[in-house]
């Protein structure tokens, strides 16, 4: 896939599908191979969540160490040599003592910690993406970006005794702070560009920044007035607000310029779910291409998503299907959903692979992780989880199937990822007490 011909083809394919493309610029057609020898810098992290687990019999590859794509992963063939599939990993902290596996499993997905069962007193842990984002603070206009395709209504309970936030966020900047995600492509675009209008002149953009500076000065003075006479509990909330204002200050004071983003144009309203996913995929590529952020998390659906897939000819909501009770039609439907989800992930990987970055491509510099809240959705297992790793080829290659003993902590993979991203961490979550053996080619 590194030949110029293949590359040109995929570009044409993208341009032909311009209705959903967000107008990404292509700066460099003649780019070197993905695994060029130069140092990879900067590195990025993208964490991709799919809800309700998978139907394992069609998802996990045959137990060879050389990757043979399973039926549900067939769409990943174009990027197979840049992909690692894991078998045997478990996220034991995701297992609740009482039911509520989707909430606790989703909260534990990137934190590897046990979520506190509460509607108001949230507590889990700092997520993988946020650990990385904190280490990179200030490097990019946005410390991190949270995107998704399902907002979730403001009604009802989500999972027995767990607040809905556990269902809708995988990124936690502190053990008590779930980060909400953007589901509107238009709003996400504006956030990625930090409200800069790529169509405006440089002078107009500078004027806007100056105005923002004046506004922020006044608002920060308001914050300062409040600080002195708040109690401890309210002070925590004001401080969180202040953190957000400081991030806005950085955007104003150290403008990075829009760089490659000046050619981007905003997306419209998604007509349906597949278009919505396409738009969010393009926005993730945009944010990384323009180096607006280096840490992204994405939820294809919320925990226990009951989305229907009429366009696949599948009858039933996803969560209902996952509790198939042995029904053959439901199991077949689940496999189709799994395969479709893998195709969406494959599209993202192909777009990253098609985007030049330094002396390689964006996939080489981006560690991409895919996972779910549970393994088998029918029985809510928290072992034998579906886990894919892509990108970072110089670190661990690709085309591999790594089979671990059932119960091997997923958090160990997270230690490996953090180390690959240049962090000194040796532990993660509750049970990540070291890196995952056998992953790194150099270790």
């Amino acid at each position: 896939m590194k030949s110029t011909t293949r590359h040109a083809l995929s570009r044409r394919a993208l341009l032909a599908g311009g209705a959903v493309a967000v107008g990404l610029p292509f700066l460099d057609v003649m780019r070197p191979s993905a695994r060029a020898a130069g140092p990879v810098r900067p590195r990025r992290l993208l964490c991709y969540f799919v809800p309700n687990g998978v139907r394992g019999d069609a998802w996990f590859p045959a137990p060879d160490s050389e990757l043979q794509l399973s039926p549900s992963l067939a769409a990943l063939a174009p990027v197979k040599d840049r992909l690692i599939v894991f078998s045997g990993l478990a996220n034991a902290p995701g297992m609740p003592e009482l039911p509520g596996s989707h909430a606790s499993g989703t909260a534990a997905f990137l934190t590897a910690r046990k979520a506190r069962r509460s509607e108001v007193d949230l507590h889990v842990g700092v997520s993988l993406d946020q650990r990385f984002a904190a280490a990179n603070a200030g490097a990019t206009p946005l410390a991190s970006l949270q995107l998704g395709c399902e907002g979730g209504g403001s009604f009802g309970a989500c999972d027995i005794g767990f607040a809905c936030a556990y269902h809708r966020s995988i990124s936690w900047s502190s053990p008590t702070t779930p980060l909400p995600k953007l589901t509107s492509p238009r709003l996400a675009f504006d956030v990625i560009l930090a409200g800069d209008d790529p169509g405006a002149s440089a002078a107009a953009r500078a004027g806007r920044r100056a105005a923002r500076r004046s506004v922020l000065d006044v608002v920060l003075a308001d914050v300062h007035d409040l600080e002195s006479d708040l109690g401890a509990a309210d002070r925590v909330r004001l401080d969180a607000y202040l953190d957000g204002l400081r991030a806005l200050e950085r955007q104003v004071d150290a403008p990075t310029g829009l760089g490659a983003c000046t050619a981007a144009s905003p997306p419209g309203e998604p007509a349906d779910f597949p278009v919505h996913v396409d738009m969010m995929t393009e926005l993730m590529v945009l944010a990384l291409t323009c180096d607006r952020t280096r840490a992204i998390s994405f939820m294809l659906g919320n925990a226990a998503s009951n989305r229907a897939f009429p366009f696949l000819g599948v009858e039933g909501g996803h969560h209902d299907l996952s509790h198939h009770a042995g029904d053959a039609a439901k199991i077949a439907g689940l496999r189709r959903v799994d395969a479709w989800q893998a195709a969406q992930f494959a599209r993202l990987l192909r777009r990253l692979a098609d985007t030049p970055d330094g002396d390689g491509d964006l996939l080489r510099s981006t560690v991409v992780l895919l996972g779910s809240d549970v393994g088998d959705g029918n029985s809510h297992t928290h072992h034998d989880l579906p886990v894919l790793l892509a990108g970072g080829d110089d670190l661990w290659g690709g085309g591999r199937h790594l089979v671990y003993e059932t119960g091997t902590p997923l958090a160990r993979l997270y230690v490996s990822i953090l180390q690959a991203l240049g962090l000194p961490d040796t532990r993660f979550g509750e049970d990540g007490d070291g890196p995952l053996p056998g992953l790194r080619l150099d270790a």
Partner: protein, 553 residues
């Protein structure tokens, strides 16, 4: 309580001469709320002398509330007269205890602050571009020779309304400094952006004049905001601010009058959608998908009509004198052309506007057979007796069942054709039987209503049997008789009181709240289950009017 100079001079000196108290109240009237403050000021002597005692009862600690996306949009509409369009795309506030306003006491994320900035810029732009909105804001043209008085006349009321209290002189000066009179609109744009991004707008701060742990009466502006966000999901209007300015709001009869006034105001739509929309789940209709082949009648227009029908049913109880049991017992429904097909109405009845129909011939009754409710409590492809049963137990009776056992996730395959048969098999498992014996009779009473709330006689060729018997031995033939049992269950009014108080306070109820809840419940029942009386009892209760000073930072 420690006297708090400048905050509650009158309450600190209860028993002092009325004239002194009155003078103290008058001093608090600020120029910013001019005419209305003067009207209210006429009654201030009486009002201030009637304020509650100097010692406030202990209440649990409360956190500051951030505006939810819903409250933010309503506030912008009422303060500036423009639509906060971007809030529709904000990340939904995930509910806690069933209410987004409870979740909004969590610390905000940096993303939200960025969205507030983005939204403030967009709203400032919309305000200055809209003729009427700009005219309401720019109440005078600055005199080039002496622009200050006019600028102040524009900015001071803006900040007062946006922040639900008069700005201090220092704040006013800070905001006025943003305006170059020669470029009025450019300056006002910055003022608007800053006022809307300020934590004074995006949060409802309540100050603590006393020592940590001490309880104190809320200052009147904070009380005005609690009232308006409770009953309108929006900012206090000029009348509430004027009452606050003279310190008259704490007066219990004034609170009762204000509740009735506010419920009669169109802004009470904020309570209908904010409280009932979440309590009765109709706000969730947005996210409900139905298979188009199986349910061809269901589309966006039907969904909106379902929601409107439920709003109308609930709104009938916002006037004094109705018994809330009738929410479940009423024999009429609100139907428009979109809903007519679901009721199998003759075409001549299918008119565009909503009309009241008699449910007599329809085997339906009240809230429990609303198509919107039946739709929210169903699966994309089927009804859900379990969800419907849980709704009755959790939302109407506040008697949630314990969580299912872990092995309940993996269900056995079933060949049963009706929900009743499937659930009978399910109950054969002893681990499931205990809860399902309570849940199933209730849930199965709804089986005549499919996943979009249309009546059906059979499922997969088998006649539906909606009759049941509760564990108490009470029997019912169908959902209409079940509705009567639920309406008369003493847990129903207590549950309503619990939900309303939780929503009003925006926090979980704790053991210390128990006597207050009991008192409110008794008043509600004594009033003949009048929802307005319940709302009055809530706003007159200690935890609504009193605040415990937080521990120091």
């Amino acid at each position: 309580m420690r006297p708090a100079p400048g905050l509650r001079p009158a309450s600190a000196r209860l028993g002092a001469l009325a004239t002194i108290a009155g003078a103290a109240c008058l001093r608090r009237a600020r120029a910013g709320f001019g005419a209305l403050a003067m009207i209210a000021g006429a009654a201030d002597l009486f009002a201030c002398a009637q304020e509650p005692g100097p010692v406030a009862s202990p209440v649990p600690e409360a956190m500051v509330h951030r505006l939810t996306a819903f409250e933010y949009a309503n506030t912008v509409r009422d303060v500036l007269g423009v639509e906060a369009a971007l809030t529709r795309e904000f990340p939904a506030d995930p509910p806690a205890l069933g209410f987004d306003a409870v979740a909004a006491s969590q610390p905000p994320s940096s993303l939200l602050v960025q969205l507030f900035q983005h939204s403030a810029e967009s709203i400032a732009d919309a305000t200055l571009r809209s003729g009427p909105a700009r005219a309401a804001l720019v109440v005078c043209e600055p005199d080039p020779a002496e622009p200050a008085p006019c600028l102040r006349a524009i900015v001071e009321p803006l900040l007062g309304r946006a922040w639900r209290r008069p700005p201090t002189d220092a704040e006013l000066d800070r905001y006025l400094a943003l305006v170059d009179p020669a470029e009025l609109d450019a300056g006002l744009r910055l003022v608007l952006e800053a006022a809307l991004l300020s934590p004074h707008f995006t949060f409802r701060w309540e100050r603590d004049p006393g020592g940590p742990g001490e309880s104190h009466w809320l200052d009147d502006y904070a009380l005005a905001a609690r009232l308006s966000y409770f009953l309108w999901s929006s900012a206090p209007d000029d009348e509430l601010l004027a009452l606050a300015a003279v310190g008259a709001l704490q007066h219990a009869p004034t609170l009762a009058e204000q509740v009735e006034r506010m419920l009669a105001d169109p802004r009470s739509a904020g309570f209908v959608d904010g409280f009932a929309g979440q309590w009765l789940y109709f706000r969730g209709l947005d996210d409900i998908f139905r298979d188009a082949h199986r349910y061809p009648r269901y589309d966006d227009a039907v969904r909106e009509s379902m929601r409107e029908a439920m709003r109308r049913r609930f709104r009938e109880f916002l006037v004094p004198g109705r018994d809330l049991r009738d929410l479940l017992l009423d024999t009429h429904a609100h139907v428009d052309a979109e809903l007519a097909a679901l009721y199998y109405l003759p075409e001549e009845l299918a008119i565009d506007t909503f009309t009241r129909i008699d449910l007599g011939p329809h085997k339906r009754r009240g809230l429990l057979t609303e198509p919107g409710l039946m739709t929210v409590l169903a699966y994309p492809f089927a009804s859900s007796p379990t969800r419907r049963g849980r709704f009755v137990l959790e939302q109407l009776l506040c008697s949630p069942l314990p969580p299912p056992p872990p092995e309940a996730a993996a269900q056995a395959e079933s060949e049963a054709s009706t929900a009743r048969e499937r659930l009978e098999q399910h109950r054969a498992d002893p681990a499931c039987a205990g809860c399902h014996a309570i849940l199933d009779p209730i849930g199965l009473a709804f089986e005549h209503f499919d996943a979009v709330g249309a009546w059906r006689g059979s499922e997969h060729g088998e006649l539906i049997d909606a009759a049941g018997e509760l564990p108490t031995g009470e029997r019912f033939a169908d959902v209409r008789e079940l509705a009567a049992i639920v309406a008369d269950d003493p847990r129903f009014p207590r549950c309503v009181a619990t939900k309303v108080l939780t929503y009003a306070l925006g926090r979980p109820l704790v053991a210390e709240d128990e006597p207050v809840l009991e008192d409110i419940y008794k008043k509600f029942v004594a009033s003949g289950r009048d929802l307005v009386a319940l709302l009055v009892a809530v706003v007159q209760s200690d935890p609504f009017r009193i605040r415990r000073a937080q521990e120091p930072a």
